[in-house]
């Protein structure tokens, strides 16, 4: 059984997690950090005895018109086989083109052509892994004129065509809605969300641009903001509880801070209507 709340596993916290018992949480690793041998990978494999895991890939580039990089998929598959995680996820984005990798979650136009390409790429990944992969809604900083579907419609249609799950990143909904001038409630209302397997929560930064406007940056460098907690409440009322992860990737705080955020997520999940969908396992 996957504990209700989890934390992103950072290398700074590996030894502390190995030393002392902590509250039950699941741990999420960024796949690309653990596909090579290293002392960190060996520690993760030891932690696997005591924790459930989620493997979160950032480099499969599911939106690439080039298709999937088979060599990279093979490395991810080997990690998934070794870790046997409860959850596997990737992003609705692209990051590679003609052999170059950009280390960013780049945006897609939400068109029929993109839908076909992403669904095909997800299918390839799921076939190789032999399991469902959950797709995360990205943080958007721009939109394409060519889009004919909303992001929520695009995600629901991907679920229908590929059988993937959805990783609903609530911070990303807040960031995208602000940056594209949308109401997060509208974004969510458009989502059928039947295939949601997990939630992500994180902090974001607020930058003021030269023209005085503000833009939210999905930097995962602070506590979850009040607006995102409030959105989490609304989402739980609508979709019910799912395993929920606290992400923190920059300015990493002590482990206790991450666990404190996870405890808050845990309490919020416990208050959600238990008749709603059971936790994915």
């Amino acid at each position: 059984m996957v504990p209700p709340a989890g934390i992103g596993l950072r290398s700074q916290h590996l030894d502390e997690l190995l030393r002392a018992p902590i509250r039950p949480v699941f741990l999420e690793v960024h796949a690309e950090n653990y596909v090579r041998p290293s002392p960190s990978l060996e520690k993760v494999l030891r932690l696997r005895h005591d924790f459930e895991f989620s493997v979160h890939a950032v480099g499969l580039s599911l939106g690439s018109a080039d298709g999937i990089d088979e060599k990279h998929l093979e490395r991810i598959a080997r990690l998934v086989e070794r870790l046997q995680p409860a959850l596997v996820s990737e992003h609705l984005s692209w990051s590679g083109f003609e052999g170059r990798f950009f280390n960013d979650l780049l945006p897609l136009p939400y068109t029929e052509e993109a839908l076909e390409i992403v669904a095909r790429n997800i299918g390839r990944v799921q076939d190789r892994l032999g399991r469902q992969v959950s797709i995360e809604n990205p943080s958007a900083y721009l939109g394409f004129r060519a889009s004919t579907l909303t992001e929520a419609e695009f995600l629901d249609e991907l679920v229908r065509r590929s059988g993937c799950g959805l990783l609903l990143d609530i911070n990303n909904v807040a960031v995208t809605a602000h940056n594209l001038g949308l109401d997060p409630a509208d974004w969510l209302n458009e989502l059928r969300g039947e295939a949601i397997t997990q939630f992500h929560l994180a902090g974001h930064a607020r930058n003021v641009l030269d023209d005085g406007s503000t833009i939210l940056i999905d930097d995962h460098g602070s506590r979850v903001g009040d607006g995102v907690w409030s959105l989490f409440d609304q989402i739980l009322q609508r979709f019910g509880p799912r395993p929920t992860l606290i992400e923190w990737d920059t300015d990493i705080p002590p482990l206790a801070v991450l666990l404190d955020e996870a405890a808050r997520a845990d309490r919020t999940l416990a208050q959600a209507d238990p008749r709603d969908v059971a936790l994915a396992a």
């Binding site: 580039s61 950009f102 136009p109 721009l142 060519a146």
Partner: protein, 257 residues
């Protein structure tokens, strides 16, 4: 006009590489000024994140020159060497050569060797942890077989020879270090970089020890490596060297791959 996803991604890739792409700007919702501003966010993020990955792989170089100057070095390096692998720790193998070629820019004759050390530590960190030979393993062998014994360094190990005191420069870059100033003229060093259980590290070798290690890594038997070391350093003490290497868990059985 961008007619396909492939066209869009080609234009986006060109934008990220610093080229102007009015067709991409026109494909983004909103007025052209805002569209360009939003596209620039991605360009900056890509440059910053790859630069941060390079700084994580070359932390001693970054500590020596400071983050700002490292950012300039990284920017020029990245312009000529694109990232090809989503596994960021694989990025930067040619960086030491690049640093050597840019000496006119940084003026530090030892900086390329510092970069070599950082890369060697990165390679060792990502090597599999192999079983090491122990004194008990050796004691179990007939004594007469020892000269013909095939030994090798563990996977990921490398020998770095430099005209500069890299070990002191590395120490001075560590957080909370007691070393506050290094004299680059302090002399040459020979470092054996290797994977330990918890991290990657280096051992400072004497001249003869380095020759011995070089012999082993070329596939020499124990006796041949020792003979080579004795030629390089008069008074080379095989027993002491062997004992030290066993103590540091620096030897594995078998011939080099």
């Amino acid at each position: 006009m961008l007619r396909s996803l492939r066209d869009t991604q080609a234009a986006f890739a060109a934008h990220l590489a610093g080229h102007g792409r009015p067709d991409l700007v026109a494909a983004i919702a909103g007025d052209p000024g805002t569209a360009l501003q939003r596209l620039q966010l991605h360009r900056h993020h890509v440059a910053r994140s790859i630069g941060a990955a390079l700084a994580a792989t070359f932390p001693t170089v970054a500590a020596v020159v400071g983050q700002d100057f490292f950012g300039l070095l990284a920017r020029d390096f990245m312009a000529g060497t694109s990232l090809e692998d989503p596994v960021l720790s694989r990025y930067g193998e040619p960086f030491p050569q690049y640093v050597a070629a840019q000496q006119h820019m940084h003026g530090l004759p030892y900086l390329a060797d510092v970069a070599r050390l950082d890369w060697a530590l990165n390679v060792a960190f990502h090597a599999p942890l192999e079983p090491r030979l122990s004194a008990a393993d050796l004691a179990a062998r007939p004594e007469e077989s020892l000269p013909e014994l095939s030994l090798r360094l563990p996977a990921g190990s490398s020998l770095i020879e430099s005209a500069w005191p890299l070990n002191l420069i590395w120490q001075a870059s560590q957080p909370g270090t007691p070393v506050d100033k290094v004299d680059p003229a302090a002399g040459p060093c020979r470092l054996l970089v290797f994977r330990r259980r918890e991290d990657a590290a280096f051992a400072v070798l004497e001249l003869g020890e380095a020759a011995f290690v070089k012999g082993l890594s070329q596939g020499d038997h124990l006796a041949a490596a020792a003979q080579h070391a004795a030629q390089v350093e008069q008074g080379f003490d095989l027993a002491a060297t062997f004992g030290r290497m066993l103590g540091l868990h620096l030897l594995a059985a078998g011939t080099p791959a």
